[in-house]
């Protein structure tokens, strides 16, 4: 982003990578896949790079409003400094926080989840989505809470999957009644409370009931939780967990 600024240009959109997308080895693949799609669609995008910082979502959900607002104010300073208008992110948690919780603190942007952004590229004819190797594969989509219930977006990822010509099978609990993967509310960063079962196992079992070849996700944390679940069930050889963006990028072998 700093380079754009130096050249006096501004990008079409800022790609907010997020902590998982920057540091987690699995999530980095999603980041790269999405970046490839953006390049392929000739989207003029920038990243903040080393100037990006946690949105504060886990801090806020853990109850640390102070830390959240510190993070938010710093990020807003950076974003407003660059005159950012439009943000796209591959993480529904960043998406929700930037979209819903930054405006009251002075950060007003048009924020899109990457599935929404890809859908708009598709509609504008800038992105081609073809089935390729996913054609006819049995796939179930796990709704991320912070995209679905939190922001009422259930259709964008499904429309993209339909375009991949997959056989989309819904889990028993889907869309507004979708079951959480267990990572939200800062649970990702702690051990779960005592219980009979881990939430990701419960959700993975439900996904497995649909006999999928791939569990599609739209969130790096859901991805981790579901991948762990599949591994826990020793099914990693027959069931893949993939982000919708990865599937689109892989379909056309980008």
């Amino acid at each position: 982003m700093a380079e754009y600024m130096a050249q006096g240009k501004s990008p079409e959109v800022l790609f907010w990578v997020g902590c998982a997308g920057s540091f987690d080895d699995r999530a980095k693949k999603i980041t790269k896949a999405f970046a490839k799609l953006l390049n392929n669609a000739k989207v003029d995008f920038a990243v903040l790079g080393t100037e990006e910082s946690c949105t504060g979502d886990p801090a806020k959900r853990a109850g640390n409003e102070f830390l959240f607002q510190m993070q938010a104010m710093m990020n807003i300073e950076v974003l407003n400094g660059y005159g950012i208008k439009k943000i796209v992110t591959t993480c529904p948690h960043c998406f929700n926080t930037l979209k819903n919780e930054y405006p009251e603190l002075g950060g007003d942007y048009q924020v899109m989840h990457h599935t929404q952004f890809l859908k708009s590229l598709l509609n504008e004819g800038r992105l081609k989505v073809e089935g390729g190797k996913f054609k006819g594969k049995r796939i179930t989509f796990h709704d991320p809470c912070y995209l679905g219930r939190a922001n009422n977006e259930y259709e964008a990822p499904r429309e993209l999957l339909q375009k991949l010509e997959v056989e989309l099978v819904e889990m028993k609990r889907c869309k507004s009644r979708g079951l959480c993967c267990g990572a939200g509310g800062a649970q990702m960063f702690k051990e779960p409370e005592k219980g009979d079962k881990d939430i990701n196992i419960e959700r993975t079992e439900e996904a497995m009931e649909t006999q999928p070849e791939i569990i599609a996700a739209g969130c790096p944390f859901c991805n981790t939780m579901m991948s762990d679940g599949v591994k826990g069930k020793h099914k990693e050889d027959s069931i893949e967990v993939m982000d919708v963006a990865e599937m689109i990028a892989n379909a056309t072998e980008l």
Binding site: C19, S22, F23, A35, A62, M70, C145, R177, L179, G195
Partner: protein, 439 residues
């Protein structure tokens, strides 16, 4: 002498409605023990929600069996109240079936009341089976032991008894009409109570009048008792669902409340021209407590939520933590909040103002283990048919734990330290953020 029944009726009515009014005032006072809340958003949208969600029961039918049964009881309740109006007028003025002059319309009204009364009995029996024989999981949770379970059944018994009395009254009335008993003018159509005809027709006129009058009196007294039972039970939702839905959240569920007291502090901290040694300006209030440890720290909408909850348990049955055996149950959060609020209210009544009683909502009612099990997934909020938000209470209590007590689970303390130090929940260097580009 002939006015004695009218006078007794008036006394019963005044006592019944008077005591109920008193308790409603108590509820309002108790809710006002909470923090004031700025209700934002479009009034039109709020009324739209009341029409759709509360009056229209739109979220009840997400579960079709319970939803349809509930709509029957609900419609029955509302429609049969027209009959109660007639009973009150008759009781006060010594008339009988005052609306009979409506003619055919009256016939259809009475007929529809009867059919609804019958359907209500059917629905209530189904509800009873679901609670006591089928033992639906959501009615068997630990928080439903004892009073909450009895409360649920008592309400069902009340409804059956009231409907049976109503039909008995009509049945006897109908026979008396046929006998040509004076006072019992021919009026109404009785598609259900007609089936009582064979049972009743052999009885003498006096016995029939006795049955009709007894059922009539018990019916209206029963309604007044039930009205006053509401305050002591979970059943207040029949009234509070409407204001509760009105005040329900209008923004995206993912948007959690912004704590303005914190914003002030953070802005001050980030202001390079702020004087670090400045003493707070005189007359300024001490900063508010962060988060909630007791009911007085919650806001009024959250307390209204607690009174509105009818313990249906849809929230708990959708909660991922609860489904996997954790202690958290969103319904219990609401029940605990209400129970503690009642306790605080009694304390206030006794002492004039709240005297510390060595207890609070946190720990004495809601444990930390419950609070930390929440994934903030909003399933409970989505599931509630009357727009209750258990998640906001969980969040407020987490804020208290973290910001007032620094009592987060250790792993979360590490996470938060990471965010503070290197701007990510994991211990990676911020300078490595763009490494994926080179990989």
């Amino acid at each position: 002498m002939q006015y004695i029944p009218n006078i007794i009726f008036l006394i019963v009515l005044v006592v019944g409605i008077g005591y109920f009014t008193k308790n409603i005032r108590r509820i309002i006072r108790n809710i006002k023990l909470g923090q004031e809340v700025d209700v934002k958003g479009d009034k039109k949208e709020r009324w739209g929600n009341v029409m759709r969600i509360a009056l229209g029961q739109s979220k009840m039918v997400v579960r079709p069996i319970a939803g349809i049964m509930h709509i029957i009881v609900y419609v029955g309740f509302i429609i049969i109240n027209i009959e109660v109006l007639e009973i009150i007028i008759d009781g006060l003025f010594g008339t009988h079936r005052i609306f009979a002059s409506l003619g055919v319309i009256y016939d259809y009204l009475i007929a529809s009341f009867e059919i609804l009364a019958f359907l209500v009995i059917v629905a209530v029996v189904v509800f009873w089976f679901r609670r006591n024989i089928n033992k639906l999981r959501r009615f068997m949770s630990p928080e439903m032991k004892g009073w909450p379970r009895n409360d649920g059944n008592i309400i069902l018994y009340f409804e059956v008894v009231l409907m049976v009395l109503f039909l008995t009254m009509n049945g006897a009335d109908h026979v008396l009409q046929h006998m040509g008993s004076d006072y019992y003018t021919e009026a109404g159509m009785f598609p259900i109570s007609i089936h009582l005809y064979p049972l009743l027709e052999s009885l003498s006129e006096e016995t029939l009048i006795l049955i009709e009058r007894t059922a009539w009196w018990l019916h209206i007294i029963g309604i007044l008792v039930f009205l006053n039972y509401l305050y002591f039970s979970k059943h207040l939702h029949i009234i509070l669902a409407f204001p509760n839905v009105y005040f329900g959240n209008l923004t995206a569920k993912g948007k959690f409340r912004n704590l303005e007291s914190v914003t002030k502090e953070v802005k001050l901290m980030m202001d390079p021209s702020a004087d670090p040694y400045a003493s707070p300006p005189e007359g300024e209030e001490a900063p508010a407590k962060f988060g909630a440890s007791d009911v007085m720290d919650l806001n009024r909408i959250q307390l209204l939520n607690a009174y509105t909850c009818t313990e249906c348990g849809r929230c708990t049955s959708e909660c991922p933590a609860n489904q996997t055996g954790k202690k958290l149950s969103p319904r219990k959060i609401m029940m605990d909040t209400r129970d503690r609020l009642q306790e605080v209210a009694l304390n206030v009544e006794k002492h004039g103002e709240f005297q510390p009683d060595g207890k609070q909502l946190l720990d004495d009612y809601i444990t930390r283990e419950e609070l930390w099990a929440c994934t903030t997934c909003n399933a409970c909020v989505e599931a509630c048919p009357v727009s209750i938000d258990p998640l906001s209470i969980i969040m407020d209590m987490r804020q208290y734990l973290v910001m007032e007590q620094s009592a987060a689970p250790n792993e979360l303390n590490v996470t938060m330290t990471n965010i503070e130090n290197n701007a990510a929940p994991w211990p990676f260097n911020q300078m490595d953020r763009a490494n994926w580009i080179k990989d």
